[in-house]
């Protein structure tokens, strides 16, 4: 059986998605300030980690925990509404890439599964 990651289109899909997603992030007044202080290439590489994870493609993601990766953002005021915004932009991105609704739902579920960790509650 093919995985969700393969179904969406694997690495090529991540590459396409990261450009669309990051364009949305940069102009979204709710969250853009969290992404502003770093250089663009580095930031996009991090967002690629995010998308690879959400697409179910990083079973071997062995980096920092989600909690550690976002703890400095929680200090700067990261709360649930910001996660809502990120999840919304993620969904819009996949729609633009013509990903089927049920697949989008699966991606959103994966992203939602780490909400507590991202916000430092778990």
């Amino acid at each position: 059986m093919s995985t969700l990651y393969e179904d969406i289109g694997g690495e090529a899909a991540v590459d396409a998605a990261v450009e669309i997603f990051y364009r949305k992030v940069l102009v979204d007044d709710r969250i853009k300030s969290f992404f502003n202080d770093v250089d663009m290439e580095k930031q996009m590489a991090k967002q690629k980690s995010f998308l690879t994870f959400a697409f179910g493609g990083s079973s071997k993601y062995s980096g920092k925990s989600m909690k550690d990766a976002h703890s400095h953002l929680v200090e700067r005021g990261l709360v649930d509404s910001h996660v809502d915004a990120v999840v919304e932009l993620l969904g819009e991105t996949l729609k633009e890439l013509d990903v089927a609704d049920d697949k989008i739902q699966q991606v959103v579920t994966i992203a939602e599964s780490v909400r507590g960790q991202v916000l430092g509650r778990e």
């Binding site: 990051y22 590489a45 690629k48 993601y61 980096g63």
Partner: protein
């Protein structure tokens, strides 16, 4: 156990250890994060052959330069590893000319003694003075010459730039290391419009790219935007205007923040790029100079729809380095 070299020092690794783990094991701090070859924070450089997985997703220019993800590469016996902005190639150079280009910019010509020191115009070199003072400068003349040209802006109180601008240095020996960076012209861009944007001596690498593109008979559009605070900050105006006259596909657009609007575009270069019409699907962009302006323009060009893979930049960040002589 395999050995490897990092910053000119020899270290040992365990069998099948990744470069990242081996460095950390040896007490060297290397940025890292995802450890799965995605986040790019552990990027290093080598001239040894690396596994394809260790370069997956990198731009072609980065692969050519030998950049690789240290978390995805096992240590190969004898491999020499560098930080991204370092290089093992070096040559003695002799300063053979210092010509003022404006009240604040001097053209420095350096005769490269090692004739095998190849470079691409637009890349930068580290210029090392005999006391070890070391600063990066961009190569402003065409590729494939034995003499490189630098445009150095005098920064009041700046150690290296005051020296290059003010002292009589003809015949002076310096060390050159490099070349480094991905701001240069390649034939694969021949079907692309080129958007070149720079402030101050950010014009230097763009001149190199422009001259190489023209020499390669680049037939698509080339737009060169040069921004400065005022008229004083512009240089090479006549030279670039005449190149634009000779090459109908090349457009030179100087802009000043304050000044005579009959002669120049007046306004912030960031806004000027915001308004510029671009063929976003087929434009390759090079942005150089002041770091804040480079960052802002990169974002604008990206938001207009140019793929990040086609945006190259050299922010002239201030470094206070000394190097081995």
């Amino acid at each position: 156990m395999p050995t490897f070299i990092f910053k000119e020092q020899k270290y040992q690794a365990n069998e099948n250890q990744t470069v990242l783990d081996a460095l950390i094991n040896n007490g060297i701090e290397i940025q890292n994060s995802c450890r799965s070859g995605v986040c790019q924070s552990c990027l290093l450089k080598t001239e040894s052959t690396v596994e394809s997985l260790a370069q997956k997703g990198l731009k072609d220019t980065q692969k050519k330069e030998g950049l690789f993800f240290s978390c995805q590469q096992t240590v190969v016996e004898g491999m020499e590893i560098f930080e991204c902005h370092e290089s093992n190639k070096s040559s003695v150079g002799v300063i053979i000319a210092q010509e003022p280009l404006s009240a604040s910019v001097v053209l420095v010509k350096i005769d490269i003694k090692d004739k095998s020191f190849g470079y691409n115009a637009g890349q930068f070199i580290n210029l090392v003075r005999s006391d070890g003072l070391c600063r990066p400068y961009s190569i402003a003349n065409q590729s494939g010459r034995n003499i490189i040209e630098l445009h150095v802006r005098r920064i009041p109180g700046g150690v290296m730039s005051e020296w290059l601008y003010g002292d009589d240095l003809l015949g002076q020996e310096v060390k050159i290391t490099g070349p480094i960076g991905e701001c240069y012209y390649q034939d694969v861009y021949s079907d692309q419009d080129l958007l070149l944007v720079g402030t101050g001596t950010g014009l230097a690498p763009l001149c190199g790219i422009l001259l190489d593109a023209l020499e390669s008979n680049h037939s698509k559009k080339i737009y060169l935007h040069h921004g400065a605070l005022d008229e004083e900050g512009l240089y090479y105006v006549e030279k670039l205007k005449s190149l634009a006259n000779e090459n109908p596909n090349f457009e030179y657009i100087p802009a000043v923040l304050k000044g005579d609007s009959d002669k120049y575009n007046v306004g912030n270069i960031v806004d000027i790029i915001k308004e510029a019409k671009l063929n976003v699907k087929d434009t390759t962009t090079f942005i150089c100079g002041d770091p804040d302006i480079v960052k802002a323009i990169k974002e604008i060009v990206f938001l207009k729809g140019v793929s990040s893979k086609k945006i190259f930049s050299d922010p002239f960040v201030i470094s206070k380095k000394t190097c081995s002589v």
